[in-house]
Structure formats: structure tokens, C-alpha cells
Amino acid sequence: MKIPDLAELALRNLRESLLRNSLTTIGISVGVASLVAMLSLGIGLQQLASRRLVKSGLFDTVVVSSRRDLRGMGREQQREGPSPGESRVLDEPARLEIEHLPNVIEAYPDIRFITELRYDDKPHLTMISALPSSAKSNDAFEGMQGNFFSSDTAPEVILQKTFAEELLGKTPARGVDETNVADLAKPLLGKELVMRYAQRAASPTQPPLAAAEPAADSRLAEASYSVVSREQKLKIVGVADLDPESMRGPTRAKVFLPLTLAERLHVMQPTDLREISRAASDQPVYSSISVRVKNPTQVQAVEDTIKKMGFTTFSLLDASQSLRTFFRVLDLFLLIFGSLALAVASIGIVNTLVMAILERRREIGIMKAIGASDGDVKKLFFAEAGAMGILGGVVGVALGWAIGRIINLGTNVYLRRESLTPDNFWSVPWWLVALAIGFSFLVSLVSGLYPAARAAKLDPVQALRYE
């Protein structure tokens, strides 16, 4: 029989015992709905998490450092120049080279140092870090009071909430994290801070910022530099609620400067002690640079390329990988639980079709008597099972979509009541729709295997005798 004929006869047969077939189809729908609802929540949560992570700027960042740093204290320097490709100086040309790699948005030096800030003539020792202008879109600045730096060179500063508390002489109560940023920011915004720092100056014979010819390693080794104490006035423009670098480990900064400004200050950094050679020329040499990649999925490729260039890299990709594994396991569990209902529904299909065989025994006998082959009968039952599967799948996807939607809405109402930000943690991508309907179709066909085989095997003489 041709497929249109099969479909027509199958639908006709389904209509004949409408109630029973509808109930079976509803059973499938419920199974598919639970599958879709479960998976849409799983996928939604995963998307929510990765949205957050991408926004945090942690998972699209590769931290690059020179391999020499790891060997430490310049002991290896005495060796004949390091073999190319194995170890390189992380200087400005290297930074530019990295920045021009495909899929790299920017590569900026990591500048962080501990120094003294004076506010109201009181000294405060703290960790300072530089931020590129791209950090503006960082999640951490969502609840910030005031503004981001007006330019990359502006003598401005953004404070982290805890440091703002320190400046105002407030002791943060342990466990209570509810200090209002706005209250903290009001007296501080627009005020001035004085930063005292140690400047790393090149030998007086060389003019500062004379980015001259790249010096040979041997020459660098003999060079020296001096440290000059300086002061810089900074205007407080913002107070951040969160720590933009909260996940960067032990060197948490509480005060942030614009990147270019920080570079120009030539602040003496703790790592400078390791490589005395660095200050030989005023060619900037970095202890580490942060590389931002367009998409977290490209991090691995970029990391590999940079490693081949002879640098050490670090990214939080491993952390995100375990997160991905977690979601994969979560999805699997949700899939299994969702599938349980579908498995029950598939037993319903078997039951319905076996009943249909008993009921339509005579009809099957007639069809065989007038020339239907075993295959025709089998295909007809398959078509009926498949039709119930597709129908149940479509209704089930709609139902699951609605259920997910309602759960999402309900949870958001709850979140709002608890004065938390509502978010979308539910998602039904097209592939899930196709997958659910396809899966439902497949399951129903598998359920139809036994009844179809049984119907096809029916002896026509016996079947015709049956009243």
C-alpha cells in the first residue's frame, strides 16, 4: 500500500474508536509533555548559567604569562638565550601578536599592585587593579553606583563596596551583606583620593616611553632601573556592588583604575623583582596579560595557539567544563525521568493496538482475503501507532511548553515576592521540539512492533470465522 493510503486508512481506523485512541494519545502527550518540560527547564538553567558566566567575563578570558616567570627569580636568565618558541618575553609586540589572533577581542596587561591610598588624610593599604574599558559590560557593574571611567586615561577610580565601607570607617558586619551601595556611594562619589605609589623608572639616560628597538636578552640582563616615589590624584566615579574579579583567586582587588592610566604610571609591580631585566628599556614587559576571546567555545583553540607561541596560559575553561558535565548529567537525569512517563504511555499504545487487533480481527481477515499481504497489515498497524505518536508528540510539546512556561512564571512571581531578580530559566529550542516529536514517533513505532507483527500473522480463515 502507498503511504497516503496507509495514512488515510490509519486515521480512519483511529477515528473509529475515537475515545480509546484519544485516551492513548493523551497518554503519549503527557509523556512527551513531561519530557519537554523537564528538558526545557534543564536547558533553560544551563543557558541561564552560561549567560551569567559569559557576562562575568571569566570564561572567555585566557590569562597569559611568560614561562620564565614560572622558573622564577631569573635564574634561567644566565643560560644562553632561551630557545625560540619555548620561552618568550611577554612584551608589547607579543601582546599585539596575541591581540591579532583570530577570535581574540582584546589582550590587555594585568596590572595589579598593593599601594597606599589616602582619603581624608588617612592612609589605606589596598590592592589596586586596572580595568580595560570593555569591563564596562561586566556583570559586576550591574548594580554600580555612579559611572564607569569617562576614558581609558582619566584619573578616576572605582571602588569596591567593601573598600568604600573601609573609607567611611564602617565595619562590615559579618554575615550581613545587605549594606546599601547607594548609601555608601553618596558621600564618596566625586571625592578625591591620593594614591602614593612606587614608579619604576628607566635609567635617567634613556627618555621615558621611548619605545625603542627591542633590546637583546644579553643587554637586558645588565640593565637596571630606579624606583621613584610618586603621587597621583584620583576622582571617585563609581562604587561597585560586586567584586568584578571575585573569582580571580587570592589577589582580589578593591580599587580599580582605567587600564591606560595604570600603564602610564609604571607602577612597580611585585613580579618586577623577578625579572630585573625588564626595565632595561622602557619597552613595556608584562608579567601577565588577559586575553578576551569572542566566545567561550573558542577559548581552547586560542589557548593552544598562545601555548605554541611559547607562553603559559590559564583559563577557567576547566571549571566551565565540569559545569558542562554537571548539566549534561542533570539533563540525562531529567531525560530519564521525563522518559518514564513516555515509557508508560508506550505500554498504552501496545495495549490499545492489541485491543484493536481483537476487535478488528474479522476486518483483518477480510483484508487478507481480498489480497492484503502481511506487510500491508503490518504497515497499517505501524501507521496507526505512528499517527498516535506524532499526534501525541505535537500535543505533548504544546503541553510541555505550557507547563514549562507556567513553572517559569510561577517561580518568577515567587522570586519577585522575595525581591530577587526574576530570570528566564526555561527554554524550548526548536531542536527540542523536533526531538520530542521524533522521539514520540519512534517510541510509538517500537510499541507498534509487537501488535503489528501479531496482526500480520493472523490466519485469515480463523479471522473470518470470528464473529
Binding site: 500500500m1 489480497g371 492484503a372 499481504s373 500491508d376 485469515p460
Partner: protein
């Protein structure tokens, strides 16, 4: 295959031959010999009646000829096909294209209209939709049921249902019409009506007819030959001159 030319009534070749045909059933401990060594020949274009009381094995012989059942031993050869040796698939094709069947209880599918019932074999034969409809109308025209083709079998009288069944048996233009007590559920008037049609198929279309009946009078009136069965065995095989009123023979 659907367009196989009707076999001429006069050509006299052997259409059906069975040799020592047996069909046994096992019911619990006992072996039932429904057909027990039947050997017969039916020439193409013949109208044969299979007679016998109930349980004589006449329907079983018909089912074996129809390819609905397989012999326990012996052979049944229809138009050079040894049915015992055909695969299930080929047997289905044989039923579809070579044989047309009518039954005592009409065996129409209740959920389908008359037209759909009649064209159902064409669906199995994978005939195109448009052509199917034409053929079905043509067949219904022949049995005078064109006007009722959109009715369901339940809405028709017994005679009309059997006419629909005849149209269905005819639709694939088979060479062989097998009828199992075709008038058994009909009053004598409609029975005559149906039998005239069967005779028409035999004479006009040259179809070979094998009809099972327990009514000797019916057989004497229409059949050219009467075969008597008892306890699964052939007990008599005699020619008959049909005595239809104004019969053309």
C-alpha cells in the same frame, strides 16, 4: 496484472487442479480431517458447485483454492501456480490478482462506504487514486449499485451488500470467482438476483466459478458441474445442465 484478459469460457484449459489434497486440523487430542485426499480438475470458464452437508469440507476446499489456507499434504495448482509452494507474500498477490471471493456474510468493512469497500483491493494493488475511483464506479455500475456507493454497508439490504461484495470481487478482474454460500443469508428472490449476476460473470466475462453451497436446487439451476463432498472426501462428480428459466445454455 489487473488487466489480465478474461479467460475464454470455451478454451477448456485446466484452471484448477488438486491432487490428493489434504487439510487436517488438530483440536486438542483429536485430528480433524477437514479435507482428506481430494483430487479434482476444473477447466477454465467452468461453473462448478461444491456440494455437501455442513462439515463435509467444502468450505475448506474453497479456502485452499483461494490461497487463504495451506494444504497439510497434496497440492492445489491454480493456473500453473502451486499454491503450497508460494511464499506468504506471493500468496497474498495471488489472492489479490487471480481470485475474487464472495462470502455468505458479505464481509464488507463496516466503517467504509460501499465505494471504499469496492476499491480496497486496488489500494493493496497500489493503483492510482483517480483510476481507482473510475474502476470502482464501473464495477458498481455493473452490479447496479452506483446510486448507493456513498452508503455504509449497514445502510444496505442483504442483497445490496452482496452486490457490493461482488463488485469488490470483480474490481481486480480476476480469472477466478470463489463463492462461499453466496445466497445463504438472502431470501430466494434476492438470491436469484445475485446468482444471475454470478452467471453473468461466468458467461460474459468468462470467469471460472467455484461456488460452495448446501442447496442442491441452487446448484442444479446454475452450475455446469456438481462435486459432492462428505467427510472431507470427494464422493461424486457429475456434469449438470443448468436449467435456468430461459437460460442461454
Amino acid at each position: 496484472m489487473t488487466t489480465a484478459p478474461p479467460v475464454s469460457a470455451a478454451n477448456g484449459t485446466i484452471a484448477i487442479r488438486s491432487e490428493n489434497l489434504c487439510r487436517y486440523y488438530r483440536m486438542g487430542e483429536t485430528l480433524i480431517r477437514a479435507v482428506d485426499g481430494v483430487s479434482l480438475e476444473v477447466r477454465a470458464g467452468e461453473f462448478v458447485a461444491l456440494l455437501g452437508s455442513s462439515g463435509s469440507g467444502k468450505s475448506s476446499v474453497l479456502n485452499l483454492i483461494a490461497g487463504l489456507d495451506r494444504p497439510t499434504s497434496g497440492s492445489v495448482i491454480v493456473q500453473d501456480r502451486d499454491l503450497a509452494k508460494l511464499s506468504r507474500e506471493d500468496l497474498a498477490k495471488y489472492r489479490l490478482h487471480v481470485v475474487g471471493m464472495v462470502f455468505q456474510s458479505f464481509n464488507l468493512i463496516a466503517s467504509m462506504t460501499v465505494e471504499e469497500n469496492v476499491e480496497l483491493p486496488l489500494r493493496f494493488a497500489e493503483v492510482d487514486r483517480g483510476q481507482r475511483s473510475d474502476l470502482a464506479r464501473e464495477a458498481l455500475e455493473r452490479v447496479g449499485l452506483r446510486a448507493r456507493m456513498n452508503h455504509r454497508p449497514g445502510e444496505l439490504s442483504g442483497g445490496e451488500q452482496q452486490r457490493a461484495a461482488l463488485a469488490r470481487a470483480l474490481i481486480n478482474r480476476p480469472q477466478l470467482l470463489l463463492a462461499d454460500e453466496p445466497t445463504g443469508n438472502l431470501d430466494s428472490h434476492t438470491g436469484t438476483e445475485i446468482m444471475s449476476m454470478v452467471r453473468e460473470f461466468n458467461q460474459d466475462l468468462g470467469m471460472t466459478i467455484v461456488m460452495v453451497t448446501h442447496e442442491r436446487a441452487l446448484a442444479e439451476r446454475y452450475a455446469q458441474r456438481m462435486i459432492f463432498l462428505a467427510d472431507g472426501k470427494l464422493i461424486d462428480d457429475r456434469p449438470n445442465i443448468p436449467n435456468v428459466d430461459g437460460g442461454r445454455l
